[in-house]
């Protein structure tokens, strides 16, 4: 029996306003820090002021005496039970994964690492008490630069040395590609360290009753966290409940198993009282995992007509002091995307993961793919200059043509669908590309101190994490499926239980739209439940732009099963054969006799009453489905950015920004557009404003939003966005979109800056392209007499 299709989906593509909004716009929110429980105590952490040091003594006795303080602990107090924070992605068999105690016992390896904790009656008393703790340290030398950390004489972060792993991948004959190549371009790029900076600081509340422990956490991964807590603490998994209440943004930074979560669980069990911890922003900048941080050496070989022969990528990736949940895998997620949208004969990739005495890095919006896209899109522009080709022309000569999809790339991925030509043509038109090129030429001709640059980014990305088999082949610790349950209530309403875990993405709305279409039930009659492992017991959570492409498919599969169960019961109710029934928009009717029909709501009630069900049929329509995708999804797009540069000061202003993205079929265009806007903003911020900076002693300098410059509305342009639509091959034709904007935008901006300054002899500016760095690049080019 073939799965029923929806003939005229009313909700697919509809700009439904969000169900989530009602509570969010009125302040009726449930952030973790709002949670109050009887007897609640507050935790505060004492953190290392040293980037690297041996802990010789910790004395909490004075802190324990202070009024309101119930307990104070050092790492030694938890040494036996706290275990090690997990790394679930051992990318190579010989990878070095150091022990990572949630609270440091003998040694600290980054500024901010937890050394002691107090538990007090309120947060003010806790804050005072940590000042009474005495810790003696023996400072050790910091390790701060991955380019020198592998030298013989470098100080060591860990006994085993500073190299965690080396991962190599390749396809095609790279030597042949380069030998005899008419054009070879070699560049080095810096992907600076970023601090994800979700607006809600992390918070946890842990409470235990007898054997059971409940953890509320501002997390993206309640299900994964539950499993990990069981593995780390030894508490039986069935006795752990994890709840993600309202979560104020994640962007990958809350895809983690943290010291504070583990310790909160251990402490609540020890004390028998609920405990809460909320980070301050400056605490969080130091101790919420960081993003990016790579040095990239890129070589590209091409024929004289611009056809790319091969690409050679050599990455140094800064792991930070420890490997956290998926730290070593992040650069590898980009490994298969350095070739981007282009065809080529050979690809070689090597990544070395290196330890430093800094906060560990891990997932941050795009997770490996922005790094890859930046490298290839910058390099394509460099290659275009070398060849004297128009940069869009060079791209067009190498990209996968529309007719060639599905296409298996040199990296071994099969891109499902795409139309780079159409997206680019549309972007050019919206951007007024030719006009701007004309204006640029005029400004250059008259040596205007304000230069105009045009930056291009034609990207694709692999998302919808992920086919479990592929994850297994990469040694990733979990699968990539997603789960959904549909419950048909007797009054005809529907409860949808999803394993995805939204933190702003609008799943309650979009999932209602999908189920409304599939089951023919009104949008308003559907409630989506998520985020609590007791309410949604099964899931793989939200990251990697996976929830629609994978979670949405789980919904569709569950709906299919509901419909099939309903068919059998409907047949009994109408007294027809199941094969003679047609399903459209929420009802079964007899083929050729549409008056003989019964709605899904009537069937649900009949199942509930169970008075008259056919022999052997379960009195329930409720169904589950777990969906494992057989491929990633590959959204793509063309982003164009126009920058004006005041060459006297180095100030960069974005004059216009156009994004044409193809994310396949769209369930809710408002949500999709919103994701693109937000993604673009973060990518622009990487290009111009943000950097997590450590000083020579290993102190994080950018601890506050006064120094780590997350831009406001006044610092960003308006975006013109549009779409093309190349459906994916899943049932809804959808792809992911959450990270696409960020992946695309950073190279669009930087390419625009370089494009503006090339006539002055500048060929690169290291990100963030601050006014000072832009100005210096101009000075340096002019002093060396380089002009073009």
């Amino acid at each position: 029996m073939t799965a029923p299709t929806v003939a005229h989906p009313a909700e697919l593509g509809r700009a439904r306003l969000r169900k989530e909004d009602a509570r969010l716009i009125t302040g009726q929110t449930n952030w973790t820090d709002n949670i109050v429980l009887p007897g609640l105590l507050h935790m505060a952490f004492l953190r290392s002021p040293h980037a690297h040091a041996r802990i010789t003594s910790v004395n909490v006795s004075a802190a324990r005496q202070l009024p309101g303080v119930i307990a104070a602990y050092s790492g030694a107090d938890f040494a036996d039970e706290q275990g090690s924070l997990p790394c679930a992605w051992p990318v190579t068999p010989d990878i070095v994964i150091p022990a990572h105690p949630p609270m440091a016992v003998d040694e600290v390896r980054y500024v901010g690492e937890a050394v002691a904790v107090v538990v007090a009656r309120n947060r003010y008393e806790a804050a005072d008490a940590i000042e009474a703790i005495e810790v003696d340290y023996e400072p050790l030398p910091p390790v701060l630069d991955i380019r020198t950390a592998l030298d013989e004489d470098s100080p060591k972060v860990h006994e085993a040395g500073n190299k965690s792993f080396e991962w190599v991948f390749g396809n095609g004959d790279i030597d042949a590609a380069f030998s005899g190549a008419p054009v070879v371009v070699e560049r080095t790029y810096r992907q600076q360290r970023l601090i994800p900076s979700a607006m809600e600081p992390r918070a946890v509340v842990a409470a235990s009753t007898g054997d059971e422990v409940t953890l509320w956490s501002s997390t993206q991964i309640p299900h994964v966290l539950r499993v990990m807590l069981a593995l780390v603490t030894g508490i039986p998994e069935q006795n752990i409940r994890v709840i993600a209440p309202d979560v104020g943004g994640g962007f990958g930074s809350k895809l983690q198993v943290t010291a504070e979560e583990v310790l909160a669980v251990l402490i609540t069990r020890k004390l028998g009282r609920p405990v809460k911890w909320t980070e301050s922003r400056s605490e969080g900048n130091m101790t919420t995992h960081h993003g990016r941080d790579q040095w990239q050496r890129i070589r590209i070989a091409a024929d004289s007509d611009g056809r790319i022969r091969g690409l050679d990528v050599d990455l140094l990736a800064d792991m930070g002091a420890y490997l956290m949940l998926v730290t070593p895998g992040i650069p590898l997620l980009g490994a298969f995307m350095f070739n981007g949208i282009y065809k080529m004969d050979a690809l070689a990739f090597k990544c070395t993961g290196v330890f430093t005495t800094k906060m560990p890095t891990d997932a941050y919006r795009g997770a490996g793919r922005p790094e890859a896209t930046f490298a290839i899109e910058r390099t394509i522009d460099e290659l275009a200059v070398e060849l004297g080709l128009e940069p869009l022309e060079l791209r067009a000569r190498n990209w996968i043509a529309h007719e060639e999809f599905p296409y298996t790339t040199i990296a071994g991925l099969t891109y499902d669908s795409g139309n780079y030509e159409a997206a680019t043509a549309k972007a050019k038109e919206l951007f007024r590309y030719d006009e701007l090129r004309q204006e640029q030429a005029e400004r250059n001709a008259r040596n205007d101190p304000v230069r105009l640059g045009i930056g291009i980014s034609t990207f694709t990305e692999m998302c919808g994490l992920a086919p479990s088999r592929v994850l297994g082949s990469l040694s990733y610790g979990a699968g990539g499926w997603e789960s959904a349950s549909i419950r048909m209530l007797p009054t005809g309403k529907v409860e949808v239980v999803t394993g995805s875990s939204a933190h702003g993405q609008g799943h309650e709305t979009a999932w209602s739209q999908i189920v409304a279409d599939q089951l023919g039930v009104p949008f308003e009659d559907i409630r989506v439940l998520h985020g609590d492992t007791q309410v949604s017991p099964k899931g793989m959570d939200t990251y990697g732009s996976r929830s629609l492409a994978v979670g949405g498919m789980a919904l569709v599969g569950a709906c299919d099963k509901v419909i099939e169960k309903a068919r059998v019961i409907a047949a009994g109710m109408i007294e027809a054969s199941a094969d003679d029934l047609e399903w459209t928009a929420g009802r079964f009717s007899v083929r050729g006799d549409p008056e003989k029909a019964v709605t899904i709501g009537e069937i649900a009630l009949a199942a509930f009453a169970a008075h008259n069900l056919p022999e052997g049929v379960e009195p329930s329509l409720d169904s589950d489905h777990t969906y494992d995708p057989d491929n990633f999804s590959f959204p793509h797009g063309t982003h164009l950015c126009a920058t004006e540069i005041d060459t006297e000061t180095g100030m960069v202003t974005i004059r216009s920004y156009v994004a044409v993205d193809d994310v396949g079929k769209v369930v809710n265009p408002l949500i999709v557009e919103g994701q693109v806007h937000g993604g673009i903003a973060q990518g622009i911020a990487q290009a111009l404003y943000e950097e997590g900076v450590y000083d020579d002693a290993g102190n994080l300098v950018t601890t506050t939003l006064a120094d780590y410059l997350v831009p406001s509305a006044a610092d960003l342009p308006s975006y013109v966005t549009s779409r093309t639509e190349s459906p994916s091959d899943n049932r809804l034709g959808v792809k992911g979109v959450g990270e696409a904007g960020t992946i695309a935008s950073t190279p669009a901006v930087v390419n625009a800056i370089i494009d503006a300054l090339r006539p002055l002899g500048v060929s690169d500016v290291i990100m963030p392209c601050t006014p000072e760095r832009v100005w210096r690049a101009i000075q340096s080019a002019q002093q060396s007499g380089a002009t073009s």
Binding site: R281, E648, A706, D707, A714, D715
Partner: protein
């Protein structure tokens, strides 16, 4: 995130405030709008034992027309500086500059006196007070004292105010007919000035009769760019001449080095921005 403990008084008169400060010695701080002080308290970079809240003292409010000058109460908020009709008419440089400080919510609380008494050379208003040759009026146990702006900013976050003194008002000259401009260069809208330039120009026919230039974030205290002022005085009121005069703006400065600029870049910015500010103030 959470300040250390402190005691708190909210006197209803200026003399009461002075007495409270005198009794506390070095351990007390005045709080007005708190927009500079509260972040320091929250990060525990400042740990006073007593806060003396001057928020209830009416004598510190209001803008008075004194004929040749305005007397601006220390508790006048940045928002009020932007919107006050007397300031708009007679001392537009203050209004223009105040509008660039931080963001609207901060401007509703932060005060003119607070900014000056805090003495952060990266703040915008100290350089303006310096450029205007303002007079700062303080009340202490011994009575009232008038301190010229040139003597007020002593060192980084250190002013000439004694521990028991409260800044009560700022007298600014009207400077009728002078043009003005505050050029603020910063990386984002909320960010502190990497460099700021307050320029006042008095024109006489096609020439600059007088020029005053105050620099933000070019040293441990706000600085007058006197070499550039001298070069601009008597110069043609034209962009090129003023650019030339501005080339001396970095002289005598000790700009800091931080994430947003090294000293040489800051000196360069000071030159460029001074040229632009002088030109705008001269109306060319």
């Amino acid at each position: 995130m959470i300040p250390s403990k402190f005691d708190y008084v909210r006197p209803s008169s200026l003399d009461e405030a002075v007495r409270a400060l005198a009794d506390a010695g070095d351990d007390a701080k005045v709080i007005a709008g708190g927009q500079s002080l509260l972040p320091l308290l929250r990060l525990r970079l400042a740990n006073p034992e007593l806060l003396v809240d001057v928020g209830g003292i009416d004598e510190l409010r209001g803008v008075t027309d004194e004929g040749d000058s305005l007397l601006i109460g220390a508790r006048t908020t940045h928002y009020q500086l932007v919107h006050d009709p007397l300031i708009a008419e007679h001392c537009g440089l203050i209004a223009e500059t105040a509008e660039t400080v931080a963001d609207p919510a901060v401007r509703h609380r932060g005060t003119f006196g607070g900014s000056l008494a805090h003495g952060d050379p990266a703040g915008d208003l100290p350089a303006v007070a310096l450029a205007l040759d303002a007079t700062l009026i303080a009340r202490g146990p011994g009575g009232d004292r008038e301190i010229p702006a040139a003597d007020f900013f002593v060192d980084y976050l250190t002013t000439a105010l004694e521990p028991a003194e409260v800044l009560t008002g700022i007298r600014v000259p009207k400077l009728p007919g002078w043009g003005y401009r505050y050029e603020k260069f910063h990386r984002t809208a909320q960010a502190w000035a990497t460099v700021g330039v307050a320029a006042l120009v008095q024109r006489s026919n096609g020439q600059v009769a007088n020029a005053r230039i105050g620099l933000t974030n070019m040293g441990p205290v706000p600085v007058r760019a006197t070499a550039a002022e001298d070069a601009a005085t008597g110069a043609q009121a034209s962009r090129d001449s003023l650019r030339a005069a501005a080339s001396r703006a970095g002289e005598g400065t000790e700009p800091p080095a931080d994430l947003h600029g090294a000293p040489d870049y800051r000196r360069h910015l000071a030159r460029v921005l001074t040229g632009r500010a002088l030109a705008a103030a001269a109306g060319v």
